[in-house]
Amino acid sequence: MSLYFERRQVVVPGDLLAEGNYRNGNGTFKELGKIFASVIGLAVVKGNVIHVVPLEGVYIPKAGDEVIGKIVDVSLTTWQVDIKSPYFGVLHASNAVDLPFNPLRTNIRRYFDLGDTIFAEVISFDRTRDPVLTTKGKGLGKLRGGKLVEVFPTKIPRLIGRKGSMISMIKRETGCKVVVGQNGMIWISGRTSEDEELVVSAIRKIEREAHTSGLTDRIRELIKESGRKNDEN
């Protein structure tokens, strides 16, 4: 058994990572008993599994993910939703509307129209068919007002923080509602646009400098400080 990379080294497609009794995880592939990187990223070994944590790439939906999307097409009984992925989300009226309705009499645009932004859950997806969404569920549905921010999907766990610690702190300190989609879309709604801007700068800071210790504290500092400035003005 041999490893051919330094701990968390940047690897590029085709780089030999390991040989012998290892299993290949995400961002890698196996060929004749050897494990190679398939994407640009950081090589990591966990137990006997080799991964490459990607530094680039598109969002691929997973059942159970909550995503923010934009309605880009409406037919008689379904909406097509842009969820910043190579695959459009499909939302059937039956997964959005409680009452049984006759599509010939009721125009589903009454519920969601082109350009509307929704918060939805992915019910199923296997790449052979488009991901099926639902807006039935707590907190799901149309997002009104506020603003949208987009970040790289791999930054999302960092933004949420350990057991949601980061995101709850941001919400608490700014008084804004913040909805985070696994697809990298974030919706923010506050009392004033200054409050919303504060959340945006916090998100940008998290995106930029994800240092080990004390990021949560530093974000809290940032919010408090700007909050004071806003109050003085």
Partner: protein, 264 residues
């Protein structure tokens, strides 16, 4: 070709519109702020002149080629200038392969008018044999990255490239044209600069970014020459402008065009 279908989220639209009401923009600019302009010339040595222009995240590459060809029959003593713009799919998911569509042709023609009407290039000096052989100057502009205001980025690119253009001197003997190794710059009389506005909520936003363009009701491009005279204008988009707002735009455009001209 440009996809006609681009759906802007209602949230983004409302956000931009509510900021404009307060005189603000999503990227922090004021309504009459241009994005940063960077110009690099001489980037393609095989072209007779070239310039790469970056306007915020919008990036264009302009190149000049010169050939000897026949003049137009109604202007036998004048060189020929053609402006062509390519919206290549490398620049934006909104662009598709194929010959220039109406949006690209519109920009090319407005730039062409800006150059032609101001007599920016001394076309007579590029006539070789009257009625028979003149220089044909091709201005080709490629959009490399599209983040709005292709009008101004392209017109700055075209001008910067023309200003660095050098063509061969010629010698005519017995109706035969001989190309000499010695190079001459084009004689540029004036520097036409275009300034483009987007109209959102009755306000005029200078140098609109792509998202602002998608939300805008209408667009207005105003070109001034070096003396501060108007030399080309073009209104676009489905909305309209009031007379007052046009006059106001003209005043702002004249000021801004002077600032930009200094950078070229």
């Amino acid at each position: 070709m440009m996809k006609t279908h681009q759906i802007i989220s209602e949230i983004e639209r409302e956000h931009i519109r509510s900021l404009v009401k307060k005189g603000l923009r999503i990227d922090g600019r004021s309504l009459d702020d241009f994005r940063e302009i960077q110009i690099k010339t001489g980037v393609v040595e095989k072209a007779e002149g070239s310039a790469e222009v970056q306007l915020g995240n919008t990036k264009v590459l302009a190149g000049i080629k010169a050939e000897i060809g026949p003049p137009f029959s109604d202007t036998p003593n004048n060189a020929v200038v053609t402006v062509n713009i390519e919206f290549i799919p490398l620049a934006s998911p909104l662009f598709e392969s194929g010959p220039p569509g109406e949006a690209a042709i519109e920009i090319a023609r407005v730039i062409d008018r800006g150059i032609r009407e101001t007599k920016a290039i001394d076309l007579k000096s590029l006539c070789i044999i009257p009625g028979d052989k003149v220089w044909v100057i091709f201005v080709d502009i490629y959009i490399l990255d599209h983040d709005g205001n292709l009008f101004d980025a392209s017109s700055i690119g075209a001008l910067a490239a023309l200003l660095t253009t050098k063509i061969k001197k010629t010698n005519v003997q017995n109706g035969e044209v001989e190309l000499l190794d010695e190079l001459q710059p084009l004689s540029i009389a004036t520097k036409p600069i275009s300034t483009t506005f987007a109209k959102i909520r009755d306000e005029l936003l200078i140098d609109p970014s792509l998202i602002e363009e998608s939300v805008a009701d209408a667009r207005l491009t105003i070109t001034h020459d070096s003396d501060g005279n108007l030399c080309a204008m073009q209104k676009g988009g489905k909305g309209s402008f009031t007379l007052e707002s046009i006059l106001k735009a003209v005043d702002i455009a004249r000021m801004k065009s002077e600032e930009i001209r200094e950078k070229i």
